[in-house]
């Protein structure tokens, strides 16, 4: 029998199962059990099964949990359902981690490997035959949405980049790109930096690695903890007490609460970074609430379907992107009302989960197809890839609209 994971915070998470009154609200919110009976549902594998666990996870069906967190978010009683599941899975996988889960967890590695050879990597991943081989050997589904590697990394751009000549009236902020924002979604990172600079901030982007989210969601807690703590050091090197802004909603969530709540990381540096972290829409909305956000926006008559990713919703701050986008004259946002796009980080990439992830996302894809006027909006990279692949509609970060409204694009 594997040793129970040894950290006190995991025990606290277990203690939240005391709040469960079996009311089934989490089950009604779960997007995975909605599409497959293979997953017994969050109440079952969470607070219910947890009472039967003794440092051992015998219920392998819990691996169908996508860790989207819709259950925890919906629970009116404060049970950390998704967190319990993540921990139980980490115990379960301790000894029999598939190679695939280890590979997917290594986001930086994938980005680093792909960047210098971007055209080849993209061609390879776009090639059906190559993807079939990948599926057979490591278990990533051949049709799963994969990132498009860029010729330049964000850091590469940042090095050459010249900030506007206007004075930096608002002082410095640290920008946290996240791996995807560093290697794949470079454009979103650039637009975010440009908006911040337009507002008068000096943007500092220290060298930064992976937050460990993908490893965490695959149950690799030790590796993930190392990653997140290293990242904390890197972000802290940008400057003491500075606000840290991110356009990667899920990575921001990892630093704000998941590393602590799911993995029990309880170090001061994480706390320091977590409390300073702002998702970009959240940051802009705070400025607006304080009367400090210029709203001299260029009109943009467009209706956009918007999907708030799970890991943004689970930050418990509502949907600031809707309010921010609707500050732009002419913009009308239609919120998806869907719990999850299906991808849930790396879940939808796996061959045995691919069909489930597509079924989870289907109502969202349909909604996006029906409501879009050329683009859809979503705050997190992997979700954008999933929505774009599922609906065929170009899907961008909310900052793209703001960037345009400030006349920057």
């Amino acid at each position: 029998m594997p040793e129970p994971l040894e950290y006190p915070k995991a025990m606290l998470t277990r203690a939240t199962l005391d709040a469960c009154i079996k009311c089934t609200i989490c089950e009604t919110a779960c997007p995975v059990s909605a599409v497959t009976p293979l997953f017994p549902g969050p109440k079952f594998v969470g607070p219910q099964a947890e009472r039967f666990r003794d440092g051992e996870s015998v219920d392998h069906s819990l691996d169908y949990c996508s860790s989207c967190g819709a259950c925890t978010l919906a629970c009116p009683q404060g049970v950390q359902i998704a967190e319990l599941n993540s921990q139980a899975r980490a115990v379960m996988k301790e000894d029999n981690m598939p190679l695939r889960d280890k590979l997917i967890g290594q986001t930086v590695l994938m980005g680093k490997v792909m960047t210098p050879f971007a055209p080849i990597a993209n061609a390879a991943l776009g090639n059906k035959l190559v993807r079939t081989v990948v599926e057979k050997t490591v278990g990533v589904h051949r049709d799963a949405p994969m990132p498009t590697a860029r010729l330049h990394t964000f850091q590469g751009w940042m090095k050459k980049h010249q900030p506007p000549a206007s004075p930096r009236t608002r002082g410095p902020v640290v920008f946290f790109s996240g791996c995807a924002g560093g290697y794949f979604e470079v454009e979103t990172s650039i637009k975010t930096v440009e908006v911040l600079e337009h507002l008068g901030y000096e943007v500092i982007a220290p060298k930064q690695g992976c937050c460990g989210l993908a490893q965490q969601s695959n149950g690799l807690f030790d590796e993930a903890t190392k990653s997140v703590l290293k990242l904390c050091d890197q972000l802290r090197s940008g400057g003491k007490d500075l606000t840290i802004v991110s356009a990667s909603g899920s990575c921001a969530g990892m630093l704000k609460h998941e590393a602590h709540e799911i993995m029990g990381v309880d170090e001061e540096k994480l706390h320091d970074v977590g409390t300073r972290m702002r998702e970009i829409s959240e940051f802009l909305l705070e400025l607006h609430a304080a009367g400090d956000l210029p709203t001299d926006f260029v009109r943009n008559d467009i209706t956009v379907p918007y999907h708030a990713p799970c890991q943004l919703k689970s930050q418990g701050m509502g949907m600031p992107a809707i309010t921010v986008m609707e500050l732009i004259p002419g913009v009308k946002v239609i919120e998806s009302g869907r719990a999850c796009c299906g991808i849930a980080g790396t879940y939808g990439l796996k061959k045995e989960k691919y069909d489930i992830a597509q079924a989870v996302g289907q109502p969202l894809f349909d909604m996006v197809k029906e409501k879009n006027e050329g683009i859809a909006v979503c705050d997190t990279e992997t979700c954008r890839w999933q929505i774009e692949k599922g609906s065929g509609v170009k899907t961008v970060h909310p900052i793209w609209l703001v960037h345009k409204a400030y006349g920057l694009s």
């Binding site: 040894e6 006190p8 025990m11 277990r14 203690a15 199962l17 005391d18 709040a19 469960c20 009154i21 079996k22 009311c23 009976p37 017994p40 109440k43 079952f44 219910q48 099964a49 947890e50 009472r51 039967f52 666990r53 003794d54 440092g55 051992e56 015998v58 219920d59 392998h60 069906s61 009683q77």
Partner: protein
């Protein structure tokens, strides 16, 4: 009226009675067990679930300690499916007597109870919720045991040896022929029928009720004092090891992980009537304070149910009348031939669940001697049915079982993962059972929701299966909820209040249960 002819009648369907009837049957006698309610519904089912290592008695009662240590090994073998080998810890919490651990270790050596001191750090790694202020820790071989499952295993073994097991049969008379016991009369409550059993020997295993039973045979003044103890089940396993305070045995000094819950026990107060045991508020508070001493945050943890049990303690004039803990815990056999001039009646009482088999052996040995037989006891040699594999219980069993069959079977009680098949197997085997009878063997309604979700399912399923009619379905539901409430309202605080509010919302708000048509008759 039914009549039965047998050799030995055993009165009382707790662990001792079950052990006696098994022992008697294995020695080749014809035997009948009479129990006025359900098996193990009395003291056996109302305790904290500890399978003693003996540690608890190494200082206060070394002989009991040795017996416990020996029986622990035997029970783990013959009742494997009812026993979980959790291990135990004796820990000194801040303020506890610093001398006691050394006396404990010396006592353990003297009484041959395996015990090993471990470091505080080791203890905390093993049980991270323990009070970090503990200053000594001693590991012992405590386990936990499901008293109902053990008793059912015992009687199922007895049945295999030809014994008749008659629950819900209340003894109404014990008749003699001169100075020899000849007949026992009983009333079958489920069928409303009287039963006469002709026999040559009666063994009274009535526990706290043993004095009343002896009285039916005209043997008066058998004083058995019910020592009431309350226990509280906490919602989940706060510990996976039995945790004892390393002090002279006192109130609230033990937490036992049993199945999905952890049970804190217990108090010890002289009660006047073993049929009317209360769960006083001050004793609940005392338990919570003790829990807090062992596990900080205990008061914020969720209690799901409480109960009171009655220890049968034979009155011993050497101790004061109000302190039952220091009366004889050891087993007492009363020979009514010596005492009252009546042949063919023995009363056995006292003792502990852990030593039930030994008690049975001793009393049956005595019977054999009186009958002039030399038939050896074999109860230690053979495992009871379903324990033959020797594979002991682990808490993950049911989760594993449901993982295997949940695509084929509905789960009726979700908290305790009881499937439709499990319920129907029990209910079809005993169509006259009430839902509490089923609960004791399946754990129906014993989890956090305390019947909020599963009790209507159980009643509806039994009706659908044709086992009962709709009037009885209503009656069973009412009785089950009434009985659940007995153990709920005394510990209603914290998260269990939310649960109870939702349960009331379900039962009154949504189902309007209080306006169901009345059951046709009171059900049993």
């Amino acid at each position: 009226m039914r009549t039965i002819d047998t050799d030995v009648v055993v009165i009382g369907g707790g662990a001792t009675g079950a052990g006696v009837v098994r022992d008697v049957a294995m020695r080749g006698y014809r035997a009948v067990l009479l129990e006025r309610a359900d098996l193990a519904q009395g003291t056996t089912g109302r305790y904290h679930g500890l399978l003693h290592s003996g540690g608890r008695y190494v200082v206060s009662d070394p002989r009991s300690a040795t017996e416990c240590a020996e029986e622990n090994i035997i029970l783990t073998r013959i009742h494997a499916d009812a026993v979980e080998t959790t291990g135990g810890l004796f820990v000194s919490t801040p303020g506890d007597d610093p001398e006691f651990p050394d006396r404990f270790l010396a006592g353990a050596t003297a009484s041959k109870v395996p015990a090993e001191e471990i470091s505080v750090g080791q203890a905390l790694r093993r049980e991270p919720r323990l009070n970090p202020g503990i200053f000594r820790a001693i590991a012992v071989e405590d386990g936990s045991v499901d008293g109902w499952q053990m008793t059912w295993g015992t009687v199922n073994s007895a049945k295999a040896y030809g014994a008749q097991i008659l629950p819900y049969h209340e003894v109404t008379g014990i008749e003699r022929d001169g100075d020899q016991v000849r007949r026992v009369r009983a009333h079958d409550h489920k069928n409303g029928e009287d039963v006469t059993i002709d026999c040559t020997f009666v063994i009274n295993c009535g526990g706290p009720w043993a004095g009343l039973i002896a009285g039916l045979a005209g043997c008066h003044d058998v004083e058995v004092v019910p020592g009431r103890g309350i226990m509280i089940a906490m919602n989940h396993r706060l510990v996976n090891t039995v945790v004892n305070r390393c002090i002279y045995p006192t109130d609230g000094d033990i937490i036992v992980p049993v199945h999905t819950v952890s049970i804190i026990g217990t108090t010890d107060v002289k009660a006047s009537d073993a049929d009317r045991l209360t769960i006083p508020a001050d004793e609940v508070q005392e338990m919570l304070d003790s829990g807090e001493a062992m596990i900080p945050g205990f008061r914020q943890s969720r209690a799901v149910h409480a109960w009171a049990g009655a220890r049968p303690l034979v009155k011993d004039t050497r101790v004061s009348a109000t302190d039952t803990r220091h009366m004889s815990r050891g087993m007492s056999i009363l020979d009514h031939h010596d005492r009252d001039g009546l042949k063919g009646l023995l009363t056995i009482t006292g003792g502990k669940l852990t030593t039930y088999r030994l008690m049975a052996k001793n009393v049956v040995d005595e019977m054999c001697q009186q009958l002039g037989d030399t038939r050896p006891c074999r109860t230690a040699e053979e495992a009871v049915p379903k324990s033959e594999s020797g594979k002991t219980y682990v808490v993950t069993h049911r989760l594993e079982d449901r993982e295997a069959d949940r695509m084929e079977e509905q789960i009726i009680c979700e908290c305790e993962l009881m499937s439709r098949k499990m319920f129907l197997e029990e209910m079809r085997g005993r169509p006259s059972a009430n839902l509490d009878d089923i609960r004791r063997v399946t754990r129906l309604g014993m989890g956090p929701c305390q019947g909020g979700f599963c009790s209507t399912r159980a009643a509806g399923l039994a009706l659908h299966d044709g086992l009962i009619d709709v009037g009885r379905a209503n009656g069973l539901l009412e009785l089950f909820l009434k009985n659940r409430w007995i153990g709920l309202w005394p510990i209603l605080y914290g998260a269990q209040v939310r649960q109870t509010a939702l349960d009331q919302w379900i039962f009154s708000g949504t189902l309007d249960i209080e306006h169901l048509p009345e059951p046709e008759k009171a059900v049993l």
